[in-house]
C-alpha cells in the first residue's frame, strides 16, 4: 500500500516549494531528476528567478559582477509553476494548503519550506529609514549599496563585523573609500571563529585602513534636515560622520508566516529531523512537510545530535537535495542530511574557509603555518576531539581536517604536521564569547537537543 501511495505521488502528486532561492531551486531540480512527474509549484516573495547571494557582498560591490545578474544556473529543466513576487502568508496543515499574500491558496501533497532568512534591520525604524542606511541581503540591496559606493561617499560606516560586514569593509577599502566598522565584541568574526582568529581578522582590517572600533555599540544614527544619514553615535560617546551606513547585524529567519500553523517554527527556524521532515509544535514529526536551507534547524550526529542552524550556501544545496529525495521516497529509501558544515569568505585578499562547527570548540591549535603570517590552519577541539577547522589561505589542507572531524579524531592534535610552528604545539582557548550574548551572524548556531528546545534564547540586539 505505501509503495502504491508513493508511486502515485511521484506520478501525479502536487509538490509546493515555498522559497525560490538556492535551496528551493536545487530541491525542484532534484525532484525532477529523481523522477517526480507531478505538479510542481515554486513560491517566492522576491519577483526574481533564483539568484546567488554570496557574490553580492564581494564581486558585485567591486564591479566584477552586476548585482542584478547573479541568477543561478539550472542543472536541468524543472517544468514548474512559478509564483514569484508573492509571499506565502500562512499554512493550514490539516487542509494541506499554503495561503499567499494575494489571497490565493495552493494545495499540496508534500510541502518544502525553504524561506531562508532576511537581513536584521536597524532596530530604530525611523533611523533605519534615513537615506544612506543600508542592509545587504537581496540583489536590490546590493545594487543600491554598489551605486552608493561608486558615488564616492566621504565615509562608509559598517555596523557589525561579522563576515558580511567585514566583506563590505574590505570592498570599500579596495575601492579606496574611508570606512569605519563597529563591533560589540573584541574583534571581527568572533562569533564564528573565536577571539584568537578574530584578532587576525582585526589586524587584517586595520592594516588595510579600516577604522575598526571594537567593544562598542552604535547607539543612534543621526540624519540631516533632508533625511540623509550624516553621523553615527557610538556607546563610547564618539560620533563618526558617515554618509553610508551598512547595517550588518546578522539575519532573521523567515518563519512569521508559519505562526499559528502548529509547526515547530520560531525565531530559531523550523525544527526538522535528520530526514528534513518538519516537527510540529508538540515535537511530533510531520510526514508531508519538509524543510531545507537557512530556515531549517536539524540534529547532526557528528555534533551530539544538537540542532544546528546553518546559514551556509553548501548546506542549502545539500539539504535541499536530501529533502527533495525524501519527499518522494518511503521509509528505508530515505536518507539523513549529514552534511559537514562548511563555509568560505574572502576579505582583504585572504581566503577564509572552515569546516565543522567552530563555535562548539573551546580550544584552538594552529597546526600549520602561523597567525602572524595570516596563512594557517587552525583546529578547534571540544571534549577531547576535533570538531572544526579553519584555514586562512591554506584551503588545500582543509579536506584532511574534515576527515579528522568525521572520524572524531582526538584533540589536542598530537601528531606532527608540515609547517608546524612552536606556537602551534599547545592548544589555547579559542576565545568565543559567552553564548548567551550572541554576536552577529555566527552562521552556525547550536540550538539545543529537542525540536522545542531553545536553550539559547536570542535577544535582538539593542545597540
Amino acid at each position: 500500500m505505501p509503495a502504491d501511495h508513493i508511486e502515485r505521488l511521484r506520478r501525479e502528486g502536487r509538490i509546493v516549494i515555498v522559497g525560490a532561492s538556492l535551496a528551493g531551486l536545487r530541491a525542484a531540480e532534484t525532484l525532477r531528476a529523481e523522477g517526480f512527474a507531478g505538479d510542481l509549484t515554486l513560491i517566492g516573495d522576491e519577483p526574481h528567478e533564483p539568484y546567488d547571494r554570496p557574490p553580492l557582498s564581494k564581486s558585485a560591490l567591486l564591479g566584477v559582477a552586476s548585482p542584478l545578474r547573479t541568477q543561478l544556473p539550472r542543472r536541468r529543466e524543472i517544468d514548474a509553476k512559478w509564483r514569484l513576487g508573492v509571499a506565502a502568508t500562512g499554512l493550514d496543515l490539516a487542509a494541506k494548503r499554503v495561503r499567499l499574500a494575494d489571497g490565493d491558496e495552493v494545495e499540496y501533497d508534500r510541502l518544502l519550506i525553504a524561506t531562508g532568512v532576511r537581513a536584521r534591520p536597524w532596530f530604530k525604524e525611523e533611523e533605519a529609514r534615513l537615506d544612506g542606511v543600508c542592509v545587504l541581503r537581496t540583489r536590490e540591496d546590493a545594487a543600491d549599496l554598489a551605486r552608493r559606493l561608486r558615488a564616492g561617499p566621504r565615509r562608509v560606516f559598517v555596523i557589525g563585523a561579522g563576515f558580511a560586514g567585514s566583506e563590505v569593509a574590505s570592498a570599500c577599502r579596495e575601492m579606496g573609500l574611508p570606512v569605519s566598522m563597529a563591533e560589540r565584541a573584541g574583534a571581527p568574526l568572533v562569533g564564528a571563529l573565536g577571539g584568537v582568529v578574530g584578532s587576525v581578522a582585526a589586524d587584517l582590517a586595520t592594516e588595510h585602513g579600516v577604522d575598526l572600533r571594537t567593544h562598542v555599540t552604535v547607539t543612534a544614527l543621526e540624519g540631516d534636515t533632508v533625511g540623509r544619514v550624516r553621523a553615527v553615535h557610538l556607546s563610547d560617546e564618539s560620533v563618526v560622520e558617515a554618509d553610508v551606513v551598512v547595517v550588518s547585524l546578522g539575519s532573521l529567519r523567515n518563519t512569521e508566516w508559519l505562526t499559528g500553523s502548529g509547526l515547530g517554527a520560531g525565531p530559531r527556524g523550523v525544527a526538522c529531523d535528520a530526514g528534513c521532515r518538519a516537527f510540529d509544535f508538540r515535537g511530533i514529526v510531520t510526514d508531508d512537510v519538509f524543510v531545507a536551507g537557512d530556515v531549517a534547524r536539524s540534529p547532526h550526529a557528528l555534533f551530539g545530535y544538537q540542532f544546528l542552524s546553518l546559514e551556509h550556501w553548501g548546506n542549502a544545496v545539500a539539504q535541499a537535495e536530501t529533502a527533495a529525495h525524501n519527499m518522494i521516497c518511503d521509509g528505508a529509501d530515505r536518507r539523513p542530511h549529514l552534511w559537514m558544515p562548511a563555509f568560505w569568505s574572502s576579505m582583504f585578499g585572504v581566503n577564509i574557509k572552515s569546516v565543522g562547527v567552530p563555535p562548539m570548540g573551546e580550544q584552538l591549535m594552529i597546526t600549520q603555518g602561523s597567525l602572524a603570517e595570516r596563512r594557517f590552519v587552525g583546529v578547534y577541539g571540544h571534549q577531547g576531539r576535533i570538531v572544526a577547522a579553519v584555514t586562512f589561505d591554506n584551503a588545500r589542507w582543509l579536506e584532511f581536517y574534515q576527515r579528522q572531524i568525521e572520524r572524531g579524531a582526538p584533540f589536542p592534535v598530537e601528531f606532527p604536521t608540515l609547517d608546524r610552528r612552536p606556537e602551534g604545539r599547545q592548544p589555547v582557548p579559542a576565545g568565543f564569547p559567552d553564548p548567551s550574548l550572541p554576536t552577529h551572524g555566527p552562521m552556525v548556531t547550536l540550538s539545543g537537543y529537542s525540536p522545542a528546545d531553545q536553550q539559547l534564547v536570542f535577544h535582538p540586539s539593542r545597540h
Binding site: 554570496p54 564581494k58 541568477q71 550556501w313 568560505w344
Partner: protein, 76 residues
Amino acid sequence: MRLVVDLNKCQGYAQCAFLAPDVFAMHGEESLLYDPRPEEEQRERVARAVAACPVRAITADGLDRAGASQGASDAR
C-alpha cells in the same frame, strides 16, 4: 549564460582564471572572483574552464558538450 562556483569545493588552483581571465579572476592567492553572467562570446572559454577545474566546482548552464558540462554532482 549563467554560472556559479561552489567555493566550498574551490581550492584556488586558478585553472579557470588562466583559461577565461575575463570571467574568473584570482583575488589574492586563493580567493576567486567571477562574473556569474558572462557574455555569450565567453562561452567557449567558460567551457574550457569548467572542464579544467580540478575539483569540478563550476556549474554553468547552456554548455552542451558532455565532457565539459557540469560540476553539479560529486561522486564522493
